[in-house]
């Protein structure tokens, strides 16, 4: 048994693009391109892929792969999948975004697929790593068909056995799987959303593995002989977004005495830098996160593609900050309210409190206002805040994702800056990101992305990175799990250890 932290809401792999759903889907279905625990691309149902020219990709499919019902896997299945994805009715979060660059898909032969993109799209393989392939006959199946299990036929290491909404998913091993055999014949995923209860279930032995071990229990579990932990720095950054869009009358900026202030100091990069310097990231990582976080200086840990080698987390430097504030014309500081969700990220509200604590001490009296994400994100997107805390997980595993969504100029037409709730805007950054997005050459693209990051974060502080979350799994003694940056909990990756 495995204790999951968030409920699995559907068995339809294309219905709702959500980590827990995808995680379960990855047991039953497979993607053309796999990602390893570091999100590095690996052959999946596709043995290989290459860009024939800047807009054409040729994908060679694996032979001798069979669906759970015994029929062989072919290019037709891939085409059906691509056809179904944009057309799942009522989907609250579809996978269509990953398909949008593709303008045409053909089967060159039963085991080769040719994809054409509108313009150069270097990230196509990364996108493909999110798309679960379903058999042709499931193309017309509806979401309820999947939930009932009727349509749940994949090629993955596990077969569907049972799904009880809100309670559990049971899978049995697929003996004919082409890849390595999983260690367990039957897996029960139990949804235990309360984190303390999840830990208790692990300690009581009711489950053998849990995901998202709460930070409060890490220290204790580490000492506990019955369990062991597996952790990794994830692809999720916790950052602070500042209102750098409004010239004046930012809603929650006040002067040091708490009276409304017309000028918006947050527009000034020096002020943003000063705020960054006021935060003791090490203290947050060790005290609030109990070591389950790594101070961040950019969007993704350095191991990821497109990150900068030069950027390091800002040092805690109240003196330097004071100087910068004075330079910017705010020697006496000013007042802020930090808005934060309180049920979205690990310890989100506590981090905010700590940040506020540091800023207050550094001469910027800061209040914290926490709210559930249901309220937070709506208000945040309506730009009702001046200063907010949020997080970003780069699903594609590449630095282009945060660059494009967080610090590119808000532009619905291009799909840029969708999560840019501070309305940071810099033409230089935009240009670099835009070019990078159409550069097929990985090295060249990487350099451009790193440069953009250095400018957007290192220099201009479009967002203030705080830390990367560490994802931790707990397993009973005798089991081992290789922690994944994408936070998926994959039963077939659990090994028995001696």
């Amino acid at each position: 048994s495995i204790g999951l932290s968030t409920p699995v809401t559907t068995m339809d792999p294309h219905f709702h693009n959500l980590t827990p759903n995808n995680s379960i889907a990855k047991h039953i279905f497979e993607t053309l391109v796999h990602q390893d625990e570091q999100q590095a691309l690996k052959p999946g149902l596709a043995e290989s892929w290459r860009a024939v020219d800047s807009t054409t990709w040729e994908i060679k499919l694996r032979k001798n792969v069979r669906w759970h019902d015994g029929t062989p896997f072919t290019a037709e299945d891939v085409l059906s999948t691509l056809k179904r994805i944009p057309n799942v009715p009522n989907s609250p979060a579809s996978f269509a975004i990953y398909m949008r660059p593709i303008v045409d898909a053909k089967a060159a032969d039963p085991h080769t697929v040719i994809l054409k993109t509108r313009e150069a799209h270097p990230l196509l393989p990364n996108d493909l790593a999110t798309i679960h392939i379903i058999p042709k006959k499931a193309e017309a199946m509806s979401t309820p068909d999947f939930n009932s299990g009727k349509a749940v036929i994949g090629t993955g290491p596990y077969k569907f056995a049972e799904y009880v909404s809100g309670d559990r998913v049971v899978l049995t091993v697929n003996d004919k799987y082409w890849g390595p055999k999983p260690a367990f014949a039957k897996v029960r995923f139990r949804m235990i959303t309360n984190s303390a209860a999840r830990v208790a279930a692990l300690l009581a032995g009711d489950v053998q593995m849990i995901e998202a071990v709460p930070t409060a229990d890490i220290e204790n579990l580490r000492k506990d002989k019955r369990v062991s932990l597996a952790s990794v720095v994830s692809n999720r950054i916790i950052y602070l977004h500042l209102d750098s869009g409004r010239e004046k009358n930012s809603p929650f900026v006040t002067d040091a005495a708490g009276k409304p202030m017309e000028a918006n100091p947050l527009r000034d990069a020096r002020v943003r830098k000063a705020i960054s310097k006021l935060i003791d990231r090490n203290a947050i990582a060790s005290r609030i996160m109990e070591g389950e976080a790594k101070p961040a200086g950019q969007f993704l840990p350095e191991t990821f593609h497109g990150t900068s080698r030069k950027l390091t987390p800002d040092k805690y430097d109240p003196e330097g900050a004071k100087k910068l504030l004075a330079e910017a014309g705010y020697p006496n500081g000013f007042g802020l309210t930090l808005h934060t969700p309180n049920n979205r990220y690990v310890n989100d509200e506590k981090i905010s409190q700590a940040v506020a604590q540091f800023l207050t001490r550094g001469g910027i009296p800061t209040k914290v206002e926490a709210m559930p994400s249901a309220v937070f994100f709506s208000r945040g997107s309506k730009l009702e805040f001046s200063f907010l805390l949020a997080g970003w997980g780069a699903g594609t595993g590449e630095n282009s994702s945060p660059l494009r969504s967080l610090v590119s100029t808000f532009d619905p037409k291009l799909g840029n800056g969708a999560a840019n709730r501070g309305r940071f805007s810099d033409a230089g950054v935009d240009a670099l990101v835009q070019t990078a997005l159409t550069t097929i050459d990985d090295t060249k693209r990487g350099i451009m992305l790193a440069a953009a990051t250095e400018k957007a974060v290192g220099e201009l502080m479009g967002v203030i990175p705080v830390h990367y979350e560490v994802s931790t799994w707990g397993v009973r003694k005798g089991l081992a799990y290789k922690a994944r940056v994408d936070q998926y909990t994959l039963a077939h990756e659990v090994k028995t250890s001696k």
Binding site: P7, T9, T10, D12, F15, H16, N17, L18, P89, N90, S91, P92, A93, S94, A96, I97, R100, T143, P144, N147, S165, G166, D167, R168, R190, M191, I192, T193, N194, A196, A197, R198, A200, A201, L203, A204, G205, D206, N343, P372, S373, A374, V375, F376, F377, S378, R379, G380, S381, W392, G393, G395, T396, S401, S405, P412, G415, N416, A418, A419
Partner: protein, 324 residues
């Protein structure tokens, strides 16, 4: 009586209508579901697509109009999260909640009334004082805290009972029920105890207070003068006279135990409606929340109707107001 019941049922429709409006308005004020549902990576186009797919791009009044139209056709809309009819999602979870509620009420009524009677009849005994003090424990600590404590003690430390989850289910008349097996009861015990504690205390205290009110009245003395056995004096004469407020509170608690097992269900990972609705509320899954509220309000109306009808059965002086 018949007229009365029929009138109440007619009022029910109106009540449901008002409820749906309130929830619609309330959730509209809370925030935009798209923000929550959509994958954070999504760009503006995908957001717009989601809004359109879920019908959230229309003005809210129009959405409400559409919903009402559906409601009269018996369709409460599809869950945003599950993509299935909201009512179906709820009804699927209902048996789990109902069995928990049933066990919890059984515990609290079955224990609470006798203990309350005892404490009320012998207010000066040590045992009674202990009962009363103990009952304070039952409601002074937050449920979630007590819940975890129960898990820690009975599952982690002692290992007697499973920590979380629901036991194996059997299909009984089309509902999956877990409490007909010993294994199922083992799973259900801690959560229902957790739920029952508060009600238990309340019922003990209420019973005691009512007993203290009534036990000295002349009709009790007369019943004793008739030579009735003590059990009958207490179990019939006394009990029936104190029952009206008790039945009210039991009805209310039954309703609340069904409707708001939220915390207990999430701590014990019990796959019931409460757990569903809290997720749905946080995800702004409006159709589920609306459908849930309609179901719950309907249930409260029914419970309260039964309780009101019971009043006149319990006390002939209470005539249900029937406008002439």
């Amino acid at each position: 009586m018949t007229v009365y019941v029929l009138r109440r049922l007619a009022q029910t429709l109106l009540v449901l209508f008002v409820t749906s409006g309130l929830v619609f308005g309330g959730l509209y004020l809370v925030g935009d579901p798209v923000e929550i549902l959509v994958n954070p990576q999504a760009d503006q186009e995908e957001r717009a697509r989601t809004a359109a797919a879920l019908g959230l791009d229309k003005p809210v009044l129009e959405q409400y109009g559409l919903f009402l139209k559906g409601m009269f056709a018996g369709d409460l809309g599809k869950s945003f999260v599950f993509g299935r009819p909201a009512l179906e999602v709820i009804l699927e979870r209902m048996p789990a909640t109902l069995e928990l509620a049933f066990l919890a009420m059984l515990m609290s009524v079955g224990l609470g009334i006798p203990l309350g009677l005892y404490a009320g009849l012998y207010p000066d005994r040590k045992t009674s004082k202990a009962i009363m003090a103990g009952s304070i424990l039952g409601f002074s600590l937050p449920t979630f805290w007590v819940g975890l404590l129960l898990i820690m003690v009975f599952a982690v430390q002692l290992g007697w009972l499973p920590s979380t989850g629901r036991g194996p289910t059997e299909n009984v008349f089309g509902f999956s029920i877990s409490i007909f097996s010993v294994e199922g009861l083992r799973y259900a015990f801690l959560p229902s105890l957790n739920l029952a504690l508060f009600k238990l205390s309340l019922i003990i205290r209420l019973t005691r207070a009512q007993v203290r009110e009534q036990a000295l009245l002349d009709y009790i003395r007369f019943a004793r003068a008739k030579g009735l056995p003590r059990s009958r004096v207490i179990g019939v004469h006394l009990l029936k006279n104190i029952l009206i407020p008790l039945v009210t509170v039991i009805g209310l608690e039954l309703g609340s135990v069904i409707a708001f097992a939220i915390v207990t269900e999430s701590i014990f990972a019990w796959p019931g409606m409460g757990k569903l609705v809290i997720d749905s509320i946080f995800q702004l899954d409006r159709p589920v929340v609306v459908a849930y509220l309609l179901v719950v309000v309907f249930m409260f109306i029914m419970i309260n109707l039964v309780v009101d009808v019971l009043y006149s059965a319990l006390d002939p002086r209470v005539r249900i107001a029937e406008a002439k």
